[in-house]
């Protein structure tokens, strides 16, 4: 009897040891996978920085494109990208958050809702060029918005809608149901529950979705080319702030534009190798822009989460 028990304990210890070994192995594999990704990124990033380092002067940010590599800058490109991203965020975030809340909190469980859900999941996997073609037909020709910043922003907003909707729903689902029940028990209406509890608590998760979506949108080239972004443009859109009432102007939304990825693409395909340094420098700036945007969102998320006390 005693011998049996000792044998059992030995066996159990063996199992535990094996399980722990697997634990360690998985940990190592995980770190390796992460390291591989980071290393690839770091190599590309450093290589790009070294190639473009000599071009990263203040002038590079304040000059328009030029046929002389040393005189060419990214002014129209970075302003274009910033404005397009602004429109994208302003359109995509409210729409997708509203859609996410509706699907989680309001939508009845029936086949129509199922169809909507399946379609959203499918849309997330549609190649971006398809969005470009849709936007060309719908925004450019049907709505007559032209080849403008507004069209580009709307197109990219469509592109990231599914991503943000899915993230919003995940964030809402992670809120414990006793919070809802508590609020309802105190007599809150559905909208009050959403407004005072669901939305604030899920903001962190929603921001994560927005980050992922915007990071995808900022690097997109195909749909932007399809709707007619330009390659050479040496002027800026009209200023959004004016000296006269109402002090705000939306003329810039109709302006022709270019964006960073298109500028980079154009420079890499030029015969003069000096332009390739420009392309590397512009690539470096684009990555920095993405990082700044993500940093901002992470900071916002941190601030929002800090204020939540359950």
């Amino acid at each position: 009897m005693a011998r049996m028990a000792r044998k059992d304990i030995g066996e159990i210890r063996g199992i535990i040891a094996r399980a722990k070994r697997l634990d360690v192995i998985f940990g190592v594999v995980g770190v390796l996978a992460l390291g591989l990704g980071l290393l690839t990124f770091a190599t590309l990033f450093v290589d790009m920085a070294l190639d473009g380092y000599s071009r990263l002067t203040p002038d590079f940010f304040t000059e328009f494109p030029s046929r002389h590599a040393e005189r060419a800058g990214i002014l129209s490109a970075w302003v274009g990208t910033t404005l397009v991203m602004l429109v994208t965020a302003c359109v995509a975030v409210p729409l997708s958050v509203a859609a996410g809340i509706y699907l989680e909190e309001y939508a009845p469980r029936n086949w129509i809702t199922d169809i909507i859900e399946i379609n959203i999941a499918n849309l997330a996997g549609v190649p971006s060029i398809i969005y470009g073609l849709l936007a060309l037909g719908l925004f450019v020709y049907e709505f007559n918005l032209g080849q403008s910043i507004l069209t580009a922003g709307l197109t990219l907003a469509l592109l990231i809608l599914p991503v943000v909707i899915v993230a919003t729903r995940e964030a809402i689902r992670s809120i414990p149901s006793h919070i809802r029940e508590g609020a309802y028990a105190l007599g809150a209406t559905k909208w009050q529950v959403v407004q005072h509890h669901i939305l604030p608590y899920s903001m962190g998760g929603i921001m994560t979705g927005v980050i992922i979506g915007m990071a995808r949108a900022i690097g997109e080239t195909a749909p932007i080319i399809t709707i007619g972004a330009l390659t050479f443009i040496a002027f800026l859109p009209a200023s959004p702030v004016t000296g006269t009432f109402p002090f705000l102007s939306f003329e810039w939304l109709q302006s022709p534009f270019t964006v960073m990825p298109i500028q980079i693409f154009n420079w890499t395909s030029r015969p003069d190798p000096n332009f390739h340094a420009n392309a590397a420098a512009a690539g470096f700036v684009l990555v920095l822009m993405t990082l700044i945007m993500n940093g901002l969102a992470i900071w916002l998320r941190y601030r929002i989460r800090r204020n939540i006390k359950w």
Binding site: P65, S66, R67, P94, M203, T231, L253, P256, N266, P271
Partner: protein
């Protein structure tokens, strides 16, 4: 708190967007150009200098949609000027006619399609068009795989071919000039729309051969070597250069490139100014971006044609090889 801000943001935005859509188009004078990536460097240089000289009073935008894509937009009346590395085709003429778009065809420079090999390739001193045809025709696919398959005097070296993709005007012209039929080519070569990839490929492969626009060769003379071309048996081999193209000796691979200007846009003062600038500075700027300028008479001739209202194309919608600029200027236009 958050939701209050959020709500306010949504309101401001929706009102803003509605207001934006409602406002009229920007009033600043704008010249819009699109089209071929081959013509782009010349037009870009002109646009850059023009805007500097006008101190931003007239704005110019240049896009790259390719020759075909440019004509699509042009014949819908979306752009004022379209760049083209080949003359307008019949189908495109019909589209323009349907939309009531009349146009001027203005040659602006020459491009010389350059055949290049690896600098270490010492056996190829010249190549005939017939040999190029043997190398590139559709029948060569899978059969002509070594240099000696084309000419027994050449070594037993694998032949690695590089060329532009099927959407390119350069591809259209080269196949027309060499094989005899536009777009008719073997398919088993490394195709890329990015000419830098072609330069890279040939510079790393001793048995490599590629063709692309002269500007790419001019910027990469250290990495690749241009091959003199023999047009017909009995003629002497001619290397691509500014001189041989202007004199018309570099045949059949030199071609004029064009801009097409809509008649409606031509009525506008800013477009008139831009075109006048293009025709007076075009030669200098084309040379600067490594294209071969037309003789001065051709630019003057263009302005003359505009003044007289000579509309349409002189090609009648069919591609042509080896036409001289003088002949081109003399012909009658057709819409």
């Amino acid at each position: 708190m958050i939701s209050m801000n959020f709500k306010r943001a949504v309101w401001v935005l929706s009102i803003g967007l509605i207001a934006a859509v409602g406002t009229a188009k920007a009033g600043a004078t704008l010249v819009t150009i699109d089209g071929s990536s081959t013509v782009y460097p010349v037009t870009e240089a002109v646009a850059e200098e023009f805007q500097i000289s006008k101190k931003g009073a007239i704005r110019v935008t240049v896009g790259i949609s390719g020759t075909g894509g440019g004509f699509k937009k042009f014949c819908r009346g979306e752009v004022d000027i379209s760049g083209a590395s080949r003359p307008i085709l019949k189908s495109e003429m019909e589209n323009c006619a349907k939309a009531g778009i009349k146009y001027f065809e203005l040659p602006v420079a020459f491009d010389a399609i350059t055949v290049v090999v690896n600098p270490k390739n010492s056996f190829l001193k010249q190549i005939t068009v017939a040999e190029l045809k043997k190398m590139w025709e559709p029948g060569a696919q899978g059969k002509v795989a070594k240099w000696k398959d084309i000419n027994p005097a050449w070594p037993d070296l694998p032949l690695k071919l590089f060329g532009p993709g099927a959407d390119s005007g350069t591809f259209d012209y080269f196949t027309e000039a060499v094989v005899g039929k536009s777009k008719s080519s073997r398919g088993d070569f490394t195709a890329s729309e990015d000419d830098n990839v072609l330069v890279q490929g040939v510079s790393q492969d001793k048995g490599g051969l590629a063709y692309f626009g002269y500007a790419y060769y001019a910027e990469n003379m250290k990495r690749v070597k241009a091959v003199p071309i023999v047009d017909k048996a009995g003629k002497t081999a001619v290397s691509p250069s500014m001189e041989t193209v202007i004199s018309g000796k570099y045949q059949p691979l030199s071609r004029p490139i064009f801009i097409y200007l809509s008649e409606k846009a031509w009525q506008r003062a800013e477009v008139k100014e831009f075109i006048a600038f293009y025709m007076s500075q075009g030669a200098t700027l084309a040379k600067e971006v490594k294209y071969v300028p037309l003789p001065a008479k051709a630019y003057e001739g263009n302005l003359e044609h505009l003044k007289k209202g000579k509309l349409g194309t002189v090609f009648g919608g069919t591609p042509e090889v080896g036409i001289t600029i003088e002949e081109l200027m003399k012909r009658e236009g057709k819409l």
